[in-house]
Symmetry: C2
Subunit: 216 residues, 2 copies
């Protein structure tokens, strides 16, 4: 473990804190599209869990002497841009986005967390832990596809679009933050390491698409 | 303490469970109007706390052998109607609504809870406890009025409109649910008791308007 620049840690905690706030927002918005009261409550519950994660990250930022708002600010435009560009039009698109999109982001952040020292590594792994959304999304999407086979093609297309948008936005974030870029390069060791990291993330994404019953 | 019809208890827990779900929803929506990231996180945090309350009520309903969704269903139309009819157009209107409207509702439910046996009485008092929203709303609204005096008149009008809508919607709810109406009549004893209950609620409402710096 090499020593990591505190600014890079603050960047990582900041982008995650804002990601949790937008996750809250988005799950709350999707909850309103739920076809049942039980589904609406389930999504609202997950949104609430994301806020719990947000608070833990904000608290850690404060401990490190950083202001949570300042730490989040550099990432507002990129994350808002991603969500504006991938606004679900249906309940199912929302579920696929939350499962596939958040899964991809979580894998990426988990890889970077591996380069950090404690307690930040554990904190990040904890807040990235699934809030029950994965099982819920898989169950709902599979049931919907079973009832209407034609949905599979459209949702698979949606899944691929999410990945494209996520990649271009995360590249924009890394390009903007030198500390984060150095953290990734330093952690992976070299370009081969970066390629392997991408391969692991892609493989996990393929598994998630399959779990939903979608062609990756 | 007279014995209370279980159906009335289920009704009360049901309307509260749905009220918490809509409170979550509305705070989450208002959070997006926040002028700062800190304000947005503060409202999202309060929304998350409401979901915690919702879950406790749903759990109690299940304990009583009731299905939470079924218990909430009779109140969806009235509560959605109230919120549709009083949709805040600004951040400040949202804060006044949450403080004045939720305060009024909480007072009303607290009065009814007093007629119930334990553990339901304590559970209801607990979930009605303020989630920090009151202080936050008072601070923000007072600061905004101090900066721009003309806001006070408009927001006072808004506060009065909220009360009118809340009264007409709660009358609709009670008219629909015999058990609830009997619970209130039985608990207050007679019409004089009902009038006193209304007086207490009105007095508390007046205090809240004053706390915001608004003419009741």
């Amino acid at each position: 473990m090499t020593t990591v620049d505190t600014r890079a840690v603050v960047d990582l905690l900041g982008v995650l804190a804002y990601a949790e706030l937008t996750a809250f927002d988005r799950l709350a918005e999707d909850a309103r599209m739920a076809p049942t009261l039980a589904g609406r409550a389930a999504l609202a519950r997950m949104a609430a869990a994301e806020m719990g994660h947000h608070d833990r990250l904000a608290q850690r930022l404060t401990e490190l002497g950083a202001d949570p708002t300042e730490a989040m600010s550099p990432f507002v435009a990129a994350l808002d841009g991603f969500h504006e560009g991938t606004r679900p039009r249906t309940w199912l698109e929302g579920l696929v986005k939350a499962y596939v999109g958040d899964g991809l982001a979580a894998d990426f952040y988990r890889e970077i967390a591996g380069f950090l020292a404690e307690p930040d590594r554990s904190l990040i792994l904890e807040v990235l832990a699934d809030t029950g959304h994965a099982d819920f999304a898989v169950r709902e999407v599979r049931a919907a596809i079973a009832a209407q086979r034609t949905l599979a093609g459209r949702l698979a297309l949606w899944g691929r679009r999410l990945v494209g948008e996520a990649i271009s936005q995360s590249q924009a974030v890394i390009a903007e933050r030198d500390g984060l870029a150095r953290l990734i390069m330093g952690g992976t060791g070299d370009l081969t390491g970066v390629v392997r990291l991408q391969e692991r993330i892609t493989a996990a994404h393929t598994e998630r698409m399959k779990a939903l019953g979608l062609n990756p």
